[in-house]
Every structure is written in C-alpha cells, then in structure tokens.
C-alpha cells in the first residue's frame, strides 16, 4: 500500500543542457528550473475597481479576475478590511502580497498547486501525538536544530502605514534603553506597509508587533532532518507537511528544556543520490495573533499550546 505526497507543483522556467566528459562518452544532463504559481501571478496584471472588503475577498476577486482555476484556490475570508482601490494594469502578486501583509496572514502556493490564503487567526491544529520532534525516546528525531537568540529581529518601534491615513507608531522605551548600548534610548524601527482602513487597526498592529519583538527571546529558528537521523516511520510526518503546519520542537541542552510550539515558515528539501536533507524554518506560534483562545481545541491546551505562568 503506498501513499503519495505532493512536494511541489509549479512550472518549468528553464531547461539548461550541459555535457560532461568526452563526446559520446560523457553524461548529457539537463538542469530543469521550476517556479510555483506565484510566478504566474507575478506575470499577471489586473485592471479593476474594488470597494472596501475583507482581505480574503480581495484576494479571491483578483484570482478570479485572471481566470485562476477555482479548484486551485483555498482562500479564507479574512479578518481585516482593506481599503478600496482602483487598479490599472497592476501586478497581481504584488497586490495580493500587500493585502496579505495588511491581514498579517499568509498567501502561498501549496504543495499541490493550490493558491492558499490563511488569515491571521487561522488555526492549524497540532498533532501532539505525531508531531513532537525532540531528542528523547518517543519523540521524532531530527538531525539538528538551529537556535537563535540575537538582535537581528529586535524591533522596539513599529510604524504601520496605510494610504491616506496617519502613520501609527508603537514603541517600547524599556527595550530602547536596554538595547541601544551606551548611547541609550535609540529605537530599532520596523515599518509595515498595509491597506488597513482605520488608524485603530493600524495601531493595534503596531502594538502587537512591538509586544512580540521588543525583547529578544531564545527561539528555534530551524530544524534540520537528515535521512540518517530517521527511521522509516517518520517519513509520512515529514512528507505531508506544508507551510504553516504546526509542530513542537524540543531540545534539552544541559540544564534546560526548550520546547517550542512552532509553525513551519519555510521548507527546503534536497535529495542528492538518495541523501535527503530537509530543513524547516520555524516561528513560535506565540508570534501569531489569535493563537490562544480559552476552551478552544488547539488553542488552549495546558502544556502544549498554553504555558501557565504565575507571579
């Protein structure tokens, strides 16, 4: 009995021939380069007028406008309203990405070629039985994890912009004092361009981002899997994964236990003559809005999606 998993669906960009070795004795190779459906969207332009609507409705309207097949769409309605717009031969991908950024959602082409949009409250349930990756017996094993604890994504001032609306800024003075060295009180500014419709929504976004990024935290930013670290039973859990799927990664350095409920932000797969190497870029689920709801499966399990803190 076999199970087949889509890993990539896209389009050929180039077929580049190369000839190695002597004439008629070497190896003729062709290097096939591929891009997914984002390339099609990037090639497409659209001319249309849209009123204020939710992010998902806007994205679906653009896909429909360019005859993107309905059976290759999985678009959520969205939580945020985006501004009315008149588009004149506008790049479809650029506008969709701007809308997705306004929502703080994710737009991507899934492994099966489906154009997918998750709004910022999208819930991907954790399979805490099958998707706990760690270094103890009973956990699925990885080859290595990439920890990070640095100031590369430290933002203590966030400015959210939107056309025809006043910029909204949130800042964290404590962080600015802590992370500016001897000169003190300098900001590290993140600017977020959106199509949000109210300054209230913009300020909420700015405050949320500052609350999450003003203080650097130990995090696992990637998990690396090598087929040398696997047993056969792990393959289904690897091959079925797509962007924004949820896992827990555990690492137990001396004197500590790091347990990070994570979203998969990026997937890299390399197979060279049967040597598989897979890397999942990860983010903590705590960095996404709407991931905790009291009494909701997948959003408030103590010890799994929820950490109890007393003070």
């Amino acid at each position: 009995m076999s199970t087949t998993y889509d890993l990539f669906t896209g389009f050929a960009e180039s077929w580049t021939a190369s000839w190695e070795g002597a004439h008629r004795q070497g190896t003729d190779l062709v290097r096939l380069q591929l891009a997914d459906g984002m390339k099609v969207l990037n090639l497409a332009t659209v001319t249309t007028t849209r009123g204020v609507e939710t992010s998902g409705v806007r994205i679906e309207a653009l896909l429909n406008a360019i005859n993107w097949p309905a059976d290759l769409m999985d678009i959520e309605v969205g939580q945020s309203q985006v501004q009315a717009v008149t588009l004149d031969k506008a790049n479809v991908l650029a506008h969709i990405q701007e809308v997705a950024a306004s929502e703080s959602g994710q737009f991507f082409i899934a492994t099966d070629g489906v154009a997918t949009f998750f709004d910022r409250f999208h819930t991907t349930l954790l399979d805490e039985t099958n998707d706990v990756w760690g270094d103890e017996v009973g956990e699925k094993h990885y080859a290595s994890v990439t920890p990070s604890y640095d100031d590369q994504t430290l933002w203590n001032e966030v400015t959210v912009t939107a056309p025809d609306l006043a910029d909204q800024t949130a800042s964290d003075a404590i962080s600015q004092a802590l992370f500016s060295g001897p000169v003190g009180g300098r900001s590290r500014t993140l600017s977020v361009s959106t199509l949000l419709t109210t300054t209230g929504d913009m300020l909420d976004r700015a405050e949320f981002l500052v609350s999450k990024y003003a203080i650097p935290e130990q995090r696992i930013s990637a998990m690396n899997i090598d087929n040398g670290s696997l047993d056969d039973t792990q393959w289904p859990r690897i091959l079925m994964k797509d962007l924004h799927d949820r896992i827990i990664v555990k690492k137990r350095p001396a004197g500590d236990v790091i347990s990070q409920p994570s979203f998969i932000e990026g997937i890299q797969i390399d197979d060279n003559a049967g040597h598989w190497r897979i890397t999942w870029n990860l983010s903590s689920t705590a960095l996404q809005e709407g991931q905790w709801e009291l009494g909701t499966a997948g959003k408030s399990e103590l010890g799994t999606t929820t950490t109890l803190v007393t003070s």
């Binding site: 076999s2 199970t3 991507f108 492994t111 797969i269």
Partner: protein, 343 residues
C-alpha cells in the same frame, strides 16, 4: 531505511487544439495530464516559504537534474515522446511515495480494508462489487492472500463513503450486523490484531462489540458496556478471568487499537500505540484465533456493536515494536488517526 520514491511528472496538454483553444481560458494546470519522467532524475531540491515570519512568502522554486543520454528532454528533439512539451512554463509536479505493504511484514493472515471498494462485495460469492453509499457488504476479500474472506449473507454492514479522511468504511448497526470468517489456524506463539474504528452511537449499557476472536466455544472480545463495566473499552475472555475493564480508550473518536498476544498468558492492548495495558489472562490466549467476527460476539451471535470500521489486520505472530510502528504510522497517515511510537 526505505527512502521515499520520487516522481517528477511533466504536464502535457489534453483536449487542446492549436489555433482553436483559447490560451488562458481553455488551458491551464487543471487541464494537464501528468506523465512521469522519473527514470531520468538524478537529484532535486525544493525551496518554499520564507526565512522569517515577518518576511513575505516569495515564489517557491525547485530544480531537478535530469539524465538526458537519449536526448528525450532536449527541447528541439522532435522524435522525443515529450515533444513539444519540453519548454518553459510547462507544468511540473514533484511527488514522493512511501510504500508500506502490510503483507511484507511476516505473519499476516487476514487484512480487510474497507476503503478499498474493489475488495467489498454485495454478495457472499464476491462477484458484485459495491458501487454506491449504503450498498450492503456481504463479502470482503482478504488482502493478505491467505484466503480468509469475510462474509455475511443476512445481516451485513453497510458501505459508507467519505467517512474518515475521505475514505469509505463498513458501518455496523449494533442491532444485527456482522461479518465473519472461520478456518484460521490457531497461532503457536503469539498474534497481533490491529483495527481502525470508531463507535457510532453513544456509549450505553449494552455490550457493543467491535471484534471477537474465537474458536467454537471460547472467545476474546473487545467491547464497550457502561452498565457493568467502565466507560472505556473492555476485554473479555470467557474461558479465563472474565472482563478486564478500561483496556483501551477513545472508542468515540477514530483511532487504532492493537491487541498483541505475546504468549499464552500475556496480552498487550494499545490505544494508538504508546504504552500498552498488559493483561495476564489465566488461560491460553492463543487458542481462540480460528474465527474472526466483526461487530458482534462470534460465539453466541449477540453483543452487536455499532461501529464504523475502516481497516483490520491480523498477524499470527507477536509483532515487534518496529513492525507495529510501521503499521501504526501507515494507518495513521491513511486514516488520519493518532499514533504514538511504541518503544
């Protein structure tokens, strides 16, 4: 280590006529038929998503190195079977296939897959395959090759489509539905039964049986019964110490249950893998495995249970942890049910 098998497929136009069909309307990804070009793949890589959660998700990319000694993927080779589709913007799919064949694990003596419609029949002679939802399943082909086909002429279960993970199941009504087979050989040293199922109706005071493994006089039985016993699943061996309660949990949600007889007096029961409940019956647990009854107590034709059953496997050996994990993960991926690694 068995590696996944990679398939790279080339999308070729179907039903499209040059000069007539409208580009952008009549042709697109969904109108392509994919032809594997896998035999010539040397290596591949894929990059999708983003590095950091605040980045935009950019275009996913992949690259594949193809061996082209025969020139078949040379764009200008008009004699190639792929001509004229070796060109930019032709659709390409990269897929991975994992093959798990329960029959390759030693000891399989019965295998019933209710998601495989071609193995389910509306007659006990197994000549008339089920066609549609609500057809009655009177015959089931044993996929193990051992010939232990299930049958029931009078009160068979119902074929129900798209029930769990998009797959079909057999629905036993709890009133009189059953399927059974006789003639198995009692194992000499151990056996393992695996089943994927869910209870359809609420737990009740009735004895609702999902499976009984029996001989002419005795049986073991996995069932629920809130009247005399606990709210989980219970185990009964009528020639031994009677009922043992709460040997398995979760009959109200889809899951895999495993019973593994390790010896004549040691039986492990697993709920979705993990740590088993170990029983030490005071009579032989090996002698009763000559009859399989699904949905009822095989000895007495009583204790009918209302269950949706997806798949059942029986081995005449006590499977190793590795083999149980292979099968548990196979069932987990197929039926979208949990499986915790057995150690």
């Amino acid at each position: 280590m068995s590696l996944p098998t990679i398939t790279v497929s080339l999308g070729q136009l179907t039903g499209w006529t040059l000069g007539t069909s409208l580009l952008g309307t009549d042709t697109y990804l969904a109108t392509y038929e994919y032809t594997p070009i896998t035999s010539r793949v040397m290596d591949f890589s894929i990059r999708r998503g983003r590095q950091h959660e605040l980045d935009r998700i950019e275009t996913g990319t992949a690259s594949v190195t193809l061996i082209n000694q025969d020139g078949a993927v040379t764009p200008t080779n008009t004699s190639s079977v792929y001509y004229p589709d070796i060109r930019p913007m032709v659709p390409i799919k990269i897929q991975a296939t994992i093959t798990v064949n329960p029959a390759e694990i030693t000891g399989l003596v019965a295998w019933y897959d209710f998601s495989a419609a071609s193995t389910l029949f509306e007659d006990t002679a197994r000549t008339d395959p089920v066609d549609i939802d609500t057809d009655l399943i009177k015959g089931v082909t044993d996929l193990s090759g051992a010939g232990h086909h299930l049958s029931e002429a009078t009160n068979p279960p119902t074929y129900k489509t798209a029930i769990q993970n998009g797959l079909s199941v057999a629905r036993f009504d709890g009133t009189n539905d059953e399927l059974s087979v006789t003639g198995l050989t009692a194992p000499s040293s151990g056996w393992t039964w695996l089943g994927v199922f869910v209870k359809v109706g609420a737990l009740s005071a009735a004895t609702d049986t999902v499976v009984s493994l029996a001989d002419a006089a005795a049986r073991i039985q996995l069932f629920t019964d809130t009247d005399d016993h606990a709210t989980g699943m219970n185990y009964y061996q009528n020639d031994a110490a009677g009922v043992t309660t709460n040997v398995a949990t979760g009959p109200m949600t889809w899951g895999t249950k495993v019973m593994r007889a390790n010896s004549i007096s040691s039986l492990d029961i697993y709920t979705g893998g993990g740590t088993p409940v170990n029983l030490n019956p005071d009579n032989n647990v090996l002698t009763t495995q000559t009859v399989i009854g699904l949905g009822h107590n095989q000895n007495d034709n009583t204790n009918y249970g209302d269950y949706d059953i997806g798949e059942v496997l029986l081995y005449n050996v006590a499977l190793s942890a590795t083999d149980m994990n292979t099968l548990g993960n196979y069932l987990a991926a197929k039926w979208n049910v949990p499986w915790t690694t057995v150690t």
